[in-house]
Amino acid sequence: MPDVQPIIRFENVVKTFPGNITVLDNINIVFQPGEFVSLVGASGAGKSTLLKLIYAEEVPTQGEVYFSERPVGKINRKHLPFFRRNIGTVFQDYKLLPQRTAFENVAYALEVDGRSTAEINEEVPEILEIVGLGDKMHKFPKQLSGGEQQRVSLARALIHRPKVIIADEPTGNLDPVSADEIIQLLLEINSFGTTVLLATHNKGIVDKIGKRVVLLSKGQVIHDQNKGKYILS
């Protein structure tokens, strides 16, 4: 897809942390709309930092990250919350609000947008139904299993109909069956055209997906393969 405008583009990106620790070293990579990309590599390879640069949780030390050709680093801090509504995020630790039910957790993402209660009451159950939690909407996170919590988190990521879903080790805390269900959901979301970036070090999962694989090691991209497998560096 060479003529399509890339959804995300890294241009000579370097990220160093205090103490002169280089986490990302001259990254140049392009993600196209609708792609499903598995980011693999050992712990500390720089996967999470690379993802954080996309949703502007971190700022590059050098170079620039573009989202729809818009430089992320130059977004006014005031406008960050609005920018982030373009990106759905899912994490290993689910990051749910513990004092809210599944419904309320998903609804929150719409509330902050100022959507009407009627809209919320219509859309939230719909999306929870899609991730298979229609009957557990009013449970609190601690009353749900890990896999169910991750599905709530996924529902929340989807509610804004984002262009990109970023999943950072979403299966890290899950048993193989739940992990598989989450990956299936991500694939399904991807099939509707949403770009999915999945960071993981689970070889079995990556091999099963059979889509683009980017291997990071010591802050550098050392492999980038379409329909790839997890190659041990």
């Binding site: 982030r84 990051k95 609000l97 993402a109 902050v112 947008d113 100022g114």
Partner: protein, 304 residues
Amino acid sequence: MQMLKLWRTFKEGKENFIRNGWLTFATVSILSLSLFIVSLSFLLGMTSQLILQNMREKVSVSVSFNPDVTEEKIFAIQKELMTYKKEIASVEYVSRDAALTQFLAESGNDPTIAQAIKEIGENPLFASLVIRAVKPDDYPLIVSEIQKSTFQNDISRINYEKNKKIFERLDRINKMTGKTGLALGAIFIFVAILITFNTIRITIYSHRQEFEVMRLVGASNIYVRMPFIFEGALYGLVAVLVTIILLYGIAYYIAPFTNGAMAQGNFMDLYLNYFWYLFGGLSLLGVTLGVVSSAIAIRRYLKV
């Protein structure tokens, strides 16, 4: 849409308030205690001020006459004194017999004292005029005028010197309670601000991971912050209600001891008279404390 968001953040603040359980309890308790101490020291200071003022107003000068002065003469003097309406509020005649009954009553109708007086054979007390000034400050002037008057030779004694000392003492106490009350109040308010601030900070600290989540799903800073501002205001309001109830309890117990000690009645009357001022002042203080503490505390954890 802004109103909807405002309403939602208020609702969320209210829910945090309810769901926080013991943290809410701790914060409200501390805030109530601080407000209670501040308002109680204020009320007690005011009470002592009023009691002292009342005592000053009750003070009088009594002029005793030699036993050979006739009642008619004393009545004439009384009449003359009454003409100084600007300075003198009242002049009351106490006859020798009345003075004796009063003295016996004041000594608790002690039979040995009654016996002793009987043995003397005659009433040892003098007839007197009890003079009350319009303003307590005028006593020195009144006394000096009486001492220079035409009837100065009929006077046995003016008990002003003794009273003068009481006046001076009252003045000293008055000034001291005023100063200590002010100093104590200031210290307590300062401590209250520190404690409230820290308690609310702990509450917010327990939420700090949620801020990250809220921002990740696209909540603006103000949207994350508003519920905590409302929560702080609620802490303040509930604490004010608790304080008002506590003060009522205290007023109920203190009231009997202050009966008639001040012109306004007793402590409870004072509380009820000034209820709305007290409520307004406390609300302002409590809500400001809650909101300011929240606003400062949240800044620390809301680095964007």
